[in-house]
Subunit: 353 residues, 4 copies
C-alpha cells in the first residue's frame, strides 16, 4: 500500500533484465556505447523526426541541464506555480542556469492559463536591461496536479512562447502517462505542438534511474546541444559506465514497454479513484487524468490508513496529520507495479474506518 | 521638468564639494582611508549602536552583495512582488547569491502583508531537502509604490522572519525619505525593529554614486561580514580610490544633510500632488508618503506634457503612450533638486491640456 | 584487451546481484531506505570511527559536491597539476564551488611535494581581500600517475594544510587499490592521517555507478554536512530510487569484496608490467604501485596492438598515433575483471610486433 | 613619498573639473547621457575604427565582465601566472564567468612566451568533453611586472589564439603607459594586433574611478556585446548617474590628457630608477619600460625609508620587513601626480641610509 510516489518501487523486470544483459562486455564508456546509438535511433523513430538524445540519472538533472542550455543567466523561465522545477528541485534550475529566474504562472490543475502566459511575456523584460528577459516556457505533462495537457493546449502555449522568442521545454517525467491518457502520438504531444526540448522520464515509469533529454530539430539547436554536453559533464552527470543508462532506455522503448507500464499505472489510479468515490466523506479533487489523485480524507480515515501501513504524502507537506481538523489533503500516486490487491486492501481499510 | 527618477540629476553641492576637498593627498586605497573610518563612526552615532559599514557605488550592488552574505544558494529570500530586487536588478540577487530564489509576496502599496509572510514562511522548505529554505526577509522602505512602513510594521514582519530563522534585510534606497516622512529615529526604523542589514542609499538623495551597507550587531554577524568583504572585492565593487565613496558619505551625514535633502524631496512631491489633484481627470493612486506619485493621466494631458519636455516613466513600461485609450498610468519622482518653478511649470501645462 | 580505463566493463557479479535482490519491495526513496543506514554503519565499522555518508553516481559529482561544501567561492583548493579535479572534470569543482580556484602544485608521480604545498599555502591569500584564500588541500590516492601515497605522506601534507586552516579532501577513486597496495588500514589511510572528507570510489572497482562521500568527525563538520545535502539535491544528484546506490555499496563492502577486487586489479597490472618489461623498446615510466601503467611503446608495437583490437588511451590525448616518431606514450589500466588470458594475448601481440 | 600604487592619489584636476562641470542638468541616466555617446565617438576616432564602449568603475569589473562575455563557463582563459586577473581579483573572473578556468602561462617580465601559449592551446581541451575548452587569451600591457609588449609581440600571441578559436582580451589598466612607452598608435597596439576587447584603464592614470571596455568590430561581436550589457547590470555595475563615468572619460581623452599623464608617470619612474641605480646595494630587477620598478632594497635602507614615511608594497606580500635577511624585494609605482620633489626626497633618504 505504497502510494507515496511512482519512485517507491524498483525497476520493471524487463528493465532490470536489460541491465543484467548489458553487463558483460567491455564497452566504450561515457555514452559512446552502441546501445546509446540505438536508443537515439529508436527515439527518432518513435517521434518520427530527427533528434539528439542525452541520458541522465535524475529528472532534476534533466530539467536543470536542459533549461540552462535554453536560457542565459538573465533569462526568465515561465512555469506554473506548482511546477516541479519550482517546488521540488531545491533551486536546481537557478543553480545550473547561473541564477536565472523562474516566473510563476497560475492556472487550474497545474496547467498554465494562456492569458497568464501572454501577460507575463508582455511584461517581463519590458524595462530593458534592468530586467530579466523572456527565455523559456516550461510546461509539465502530466502536470504536478495530475492533469493532462492535450496537444492543442500545448500548441497554443508554445505558439505564444515562440512569438516572444522563447524556447519551449517540456518536463515529461510522466510523459508516457500523458500519452496513454490522451491517445495522442509522441510527435503530436511534443515537437509538432512546438516543444523544443523534451525531458522524457523513465524512472517514475519503471526504470531504475534513467531520463532522456531529447532535442528536436538538432541542426537548429546545435548550439544548445553543444552546451548541453559540457554542462552535463561539468554537472557530474556523465555516467562513466554509460550502459547503465542506455540499457534501461533500450528496454524502456522495446515493444512499447513504456506505454504498457503507463497504462497499468493509469488504470490503477482509476481503480483507486472509483473505490474512493464510494467512501463517505472522501473527496477527490482532480479529474484523475493519469496516475495521481489529490484527495481530502477524513482525519479518522487517514489515521487508520497510517496505522495499517498505508503510505502516501500530505499535500502540502506543511500540514499536520490533523489537517484542518476534519480532513487532510493527501496525494496518492500509483505506479507500473501497483497491484489490484494492494488497492483493494487499501480501500477496504478506508471504507471500514 | 524631470520626474523620471531621483537619479536624473547630479550631486548636491555639499557632496560635490566633499569630493573636491578629498582629492588632494595620497591616501591608503581600497577603503582604508581615514574618512571611511569616520563614516563608520558617524553612522554608529546616528544609529546609536555598533555597526560595520561598507560602501559601494550602486544600489543593486548593495542589495545583491548583502543578500548573498545572508542567504545560502539554496535560500529563499522573501520580498514583495514589486520589490526592486525582483523587478529592476536583472537577476542580480540570483547571480550574486549563487542561484538563490526570490519568493514573492503580495500586499497593498508595495508593503508585505504579515499574513502573506507568515504563510510563505510556513510553506517554504517544508518539503525538506527538495526545497529551498527560508533565509531572508527583504523589505523596502520607502516601498517601490511610494509608501511608508512605520517602525511597528517593520517589527511585526521582522519578528515573524526571525522566528523562522531568517535574517532581515532592508533596502533603504529611500531610507532618508522614510525617516523624514515618519519622524522616527534611524535606530527605531532599523535595528530596533529587527533589521540585520540596512542598505542605506545616498545616490537617489543627493550623492553622485554611493550606498552604505550597514551591518548591525557586528559581533553576531561576524561571518556574514567576512563574507561580504570577499564578495565585494570579487564582485568588482571594491573601489580603489575609496575616498570617492567615503567623501560623499561623510558629507551626506554632515549637519543632517541627508535629512534636509529628503525633506525637500518629499515636500516637492506634496506640492506636485496638491497641484495634480486640482486637475480634472487626473487621479493619484497612492497616498504620497514620500517622493513618489503614481498617477493616471488623461492621454491628452500626457501627450501635451511630453511635447513640452516633461520627462517621467510609464508604469508599467510595457504600456504605449495611448495607455488604455483614456488614461496612462505614470510615475513621478521628485528629488532634492526639484524646484518649485519646475513643478509649477509642469502643473500649468497639465492644467491647460 | 581493454586497458582504456577501469570503467570499460560492467559491474562485478556480486554487485549486480545486489541490485537485483534489492529490486522487489516498495522502499522509502531519496536515500531513506534501510540499506543506506546499513551502509553508513558498515563504513563506520570499517573506518573505526563515526561517519556521515552520502552516495552519488559519479566521481565528478562526489568530488565537486564535497569541495563545494569545504570551500567558499573565494577559496583556493590546492591540488596536483595532474589531479582529476583539474584535468578531467571539465571545471566541475569551479562550477559547484561558485567559482573557486584550483591552485596547482607540482610533484613526481602525481604526488604533491610537501614544500610545494608549504610555499603555496604561504603565498596564497597573503594579499588579503584581493586574493582567494586557502581553503582545501585535495589529494588523490592512488594518484592519476598510478602512484601510492603512504599514510605518513598524507599525514605530512594534511598537517601543513590544517595548520593553514584548510580542510583535507581525498579523491579516493582508487582508494581500495591504494589500501591493498600499502597494506594500511582504511582509518590509517584517511582520518588518522588527517583526511576530513573521503570520496571513496566504487565504480572503477566493480560497481556500476556508485561513489561514497564520507565525512569523518561528523559533529565537527555538521555545517559542511548540512550544506552537502542541499548541494546534492540541487545538483540533481539525489537519486530517487536510492536503493540503486545503497545496494551496490552494501555489496561492495560485504566480505571485503572491495579489497578482493582491487587486489585482482593490482595483480593484473603487475602481470602486465612484468610482461612488458621483457619486450624490447618498451619502457614503463612508473613504479606500478596499483593498477595503472604509463608506458612508452614503439610506434610499430602500438600500431600492431591497435590493429589487433587492443584498446588504451594515448597520454596526453593531444598526441597522434605517431607519437614523437619513435615511441608513443600510453596509459594502461587494469580492472577487477581483467583476465590473465587477455593480458597474455596482449603481450604476445606486443612481443611479436 | 607614496609609491604604493598609481591609485593612491585622487583625480587629475582636468578630470575633477569635468565631474563638476557635468553636475548641473537633469540627464538621462544609466549611460544614456549625451556625453557617453561623445565618449564612444571619441574612442572610435582615437582607435581609427568602429567600436562599442561601456564604462564601469573598477578594473576588476571591466576584466571580469568582459571575460565572462568572451568565454563559456567551461572555457579556459589563458593568462600569465602573474596576471592581475589571476593574482589580484579574488576570483572575479571565475565568479562572473560561471566557474571558468584560468590556465596559467609562464614568461619573463610578466609576458607570455609564445611557445608556452602554443603548448597550452594544444593540450587544453584535447580530452574532449572531459576538459575545459580554449576560449580566451588575456594579456596585460603594461604587464604586472612593469614590462611592455610591443605591437608585434601582441600580434604573434593573438594569431596563435585566433587560430585556436580563442578571443583576445587585453587588460589595459596601464594602456596609456604602454602607448607612450612604445610610441605606437592605439590601433596598432590593440585591434590591428588582434585584440578583440580592450579594457582601457583610466583610474590608475588620473581618473577617480573609470574604466572603458572597448569592443572592436562590434558587428562581429554583437552577441558578446548584448551579453555584456546584461552582465553589467546584473553585476551591479550600471551606474545610475552615468555622467559620473562619462564625464571622467570625456576629460581623459580631451587634448590627449591620457597620454600626457602617462608620460609624466613614466618619466617619474625613470627619474626614480636613475637615482636608485646610484645607491649602493640597491638592485633594480626590471628594465623600467613604464611606471613600475621592482627593486631589491637593503633591509637597512628599507627600514629607514619606512621610518621617514615612504610608502610602497613588499612584493610578494608574504615577505616580512626583514626580507631574506639582506634585502627586501619591493615594488615602486609612480603616477601622474608624482613630483620630482617627492622622488628627490625619497632618493636622499635612501642614499643616506
Amino acid at each position: 500500500m505504497y502510494f507515496t510516489s511512482d519512485n517507491a518501487v524498483g525497476a520493471a523486470p524487463e528493465i532490470l533484465n536489460a541491465i543484467i544483459a548489458a553487463n558483460e562486455d567491455a564497452l566504450p564508456s561515457y555514452g559512446a556505447d552502441p546501445m546509446m546509438q540505438d536508443v537515439e535511433k529508436r527515439i527518432a523513430q518513435i517521434f518520427e523526426t530527427d533528434v539528439r538524445v542525452f541520458l541522465v540519472s535524475t529528472g532534476t538533472a534533466a530539467n536543470a541541464l536542459s533549461l540552462a542550455s535554453l536560457s542565459p543567466p538573465w533569462g526568465a523561465v515561465f512555469c506554473h506555480r506548482y511546477a516541479h522545477i519550482e517546488v521540488d528541485e531545491c533551486g536546481a534550475p537557478e543553480f545550473f542556469g547561473g541564477g536565472l529566474k523562474l516566473v510563476l504562472l497560475d492556472g487550474k490543475d497545474g496547467k498554465i492559463q494562456p492569458d497568464a502566459l501572454e501577460y507575463a511575456l508582455k511584461e517581463t523584460g519590458a524595462g530593458g536591461v534592468h530586467q530579466v528577459q523572456p527565455a523559456v516556457l516550461s510546461i509539465t505533462n502530466v502536470t504536478e496536479a495530475g492533469a493532462l495537457y492535450r496537444a492543442e493546449e500545448i500548441s497554443t502555449l508554445a505558439a505564444l512562447a515562440h512569438d516572444a522568442g522563447c524556447a519551449v521545454h517540456l518536463d515529461g517525467t510522466r510523459f508516457a502517462n500523458a500519452l496513454v491518457s490522451s491517445n495522442a502520438s509522441p510527435a503530436d504531444m511534443s515537437w509538432r505542438a512546438g516543444v523544443d526540448v523534451l525531458c522524457l522520464g523513465a524512472t517514475k515509469n519503471g526504470a531504475l534511474a534513467a531520463e532522456a533529454v531529447i532535442f528536436f530539430d538538432p541542426k537548429r539547436q546545435a548550439d544548445r546541444i553543444a552546451q548541453f554536453e559540457y554542462r552535463r559533464k561539468r554537472g557530474g552527470h556523465l555516467i562513466s559506465k554509460g550502459r547503465m543508462l542506455s540499457a534501461q532506455m533500450a528496454a524502456y522503448f522495446k515493444d512499447d514497454l513504456w506505454l504498457s507500464l503507463a497504462r497499468h499505472s493509469n488504470l490503477a489510479a482509476t481503480r483507486l479513484a472509483d473505490g474512493l468515490r464510494k467512501i463517505e466523506g472522501v473527496e477527490i479533487e482532480n479529474s484523475v487524468d493519469a496516475n495521481m489523485l489529490f484527495v481530502h480524507l477524513p482525519v479518522a480515515v487517514h489515521k487508520r490508513l497510517q496505522q495499517e501501513g498505508a503510505r502516501y504524502y500530505l499535500e502540502p507537506p506543511s500540514q499536520s496529520d490533523e489537517g484542518d481538523g476534519k480532513t487532510v489533503r493527501v496525494r496518492f500516486v500509483t505506479s507500473f507495479s501497483t497491484t489490484d490487491d494492494a488497492i483493494d486492501s487499501f480501500l477496504e481499510i478506508a471504507s471500514k474506518a
